[in-house]
Amino acid sequence: MMRLKPAEIAERVAQDIPDGAYVNLGIGMPTMVANYVSDDRQVIYQSENGILGVGPAPAPGEEDPDLINAGKQFVTLLPGGAYFDNAESFAMMRGGHLDLAVLGAFQVSEKGDLANWATNNDTYPPAVGGAMDLAVGAKQVFVIMSHTTKSGEPKILESCNYPLTGAAVVKRIYTDLAVLDVTDDGLRVRQLHGDNTFDEVQALTGATLLPAQN
């Protein structure tokens, strides 16, 4: 089977980010998406700690110790960017002003339920950050993740068995095997990578898939 590398999945997500969009990229694989948005599109990135217009990493020695993104990496501010406090930052999210959030996930259900903040290991202290606010707040939520766990277990399920981040919030899932849309009818294949077949992807998915339309 054809399995995209993480950077290749990020590149695939980037193709679907429209010109002019206000976008929040989650920590980890989602952050890579910005590297692949083509130069003919202007995308404004929000960082939950209070930045609109996040720019690339600063040159060595040029770091502002306060100017970090949600992943605590040093960043820059693009011309036209702005700073604001956390209450305003999350008002921006919950108020529906962000066009898109790209998030990682442990599991996604066929209804678009998202689980990305906690596992069932209670001995480990939980952390949630801004994930729940983003999940309900952005106009659209895209998930970028591997199709299965490292041991080959499906991460796309009829219902999540990890604690939910948000219910029925995911619009589209980008994995190393395929792109899936969450629709009222169920999970519909939007794209199969390479020569992957519907049956191959279905076999690694814990929910019933609908074939691509058109």
């Binding site: 209070g50 970090i68 700073y83 406090d85 956390n86 952390a127 949630v128 801004g130 606010d133 948000g166």
Partner: protein, 227 residues
């Protein structure tokens, strides 16, 4: 004459009491009032409830309060990150209580406290474990969770510039939780890089008006006596 400038961090936190709730501004590695936190650690008030986005990393800042076992409870959104060893150790021992709050709910609960709002309905967390036991309501077909205001006895915040009236201007993303926390505590103490003359801060650029700030202390050269 209004003059909110105090000449030492130690005196500015000397009336923090055992059992107080203490908001601490900052996010990740940005915008923390590190010298105020060190003064609080040396002051030694115990049994504190700390309200902050993170639970500290390494041995500095909030982690130093945990290491000295001055904190009974922490209210935060993201306690666990690379290097949060003291939080993890105390959590494992059952020596610290954790109230985990989604980041936007944390910010809004603080904002509500400062704005005289008793509570609010938010869609964040609806249908999740973090809403268990909380009142919910469906408004126009969407589910919401009732969250209550989160005030504190003390807020320790970090800004870049201040004047004697307590007006504050911040540095880039160091702003984070500092402005809402300034509004939500009985006593707000700001650590700043410099104090300027009243009238010199551009009123169009002041982020926190001085009415929210009780004490301002300018940074001295950083000395960690514990090291």
């Amino acid at each position: 004459m209004i003059n909110k400038v105090w000449d030492s961090f130690e005196s500015a936190v000397s009336d923090v009491k055992d059992g107080d709730s203490v908001m601490i501004g900052g996010f990740g590695s940005s915008g923390f009032p590190l010298q105020l936190i060190e003064a609080l650690r040396q002051h030694g008030a115990r049994d504190l409830t700390v309200i902050s986005n993170n639970a500290g990393v390494g041995d500095e800042g909030i982690a130093s309060l945990l290491k000295d076992r001055l904190v009974r409870k922490i209210v935060c959104s993201f306690p666990r990150s690379a290097g949060s060893v003291w939080f993890e150790r105390l959590y494992e021992e059952g020596a610290i209580e954790l109230e985990l709050v989604p980041q936007g709910t944390l910010a809004e609960r603080i904002r509500a406290a400062g704005a005289g709002i008793g509570g609010f309905y938010t869609p964040t967390g609806y249908g999740t474990r973090l809403a268990e036991g909380k009142e919910t309501k469906v408004i126009d077909g969407r589910g919401y969770v009732l969250e209550t205001a989160l005030p504190a006895d003390v807020a320790l915040i970090k800004a870049q510039r201040a004047d004697a009236w307590g007006n504050l201007i911040y540095n880039t993303a160091g702003r984070n939780f500092n402005p809402p926390m300034a509004t939500a505590a009985t006593l707000t103490v700001a650590e700043v890089e410099r104090v300027e003359a009243v009238g010199d801060l551009d009123p169009e650029c002041i982020v926190t008006p001085g009415i929210f700030v009780d004490r301002v202390v300018a940074q001295k050269e950083w000395r960690n006596d514990a090291a």
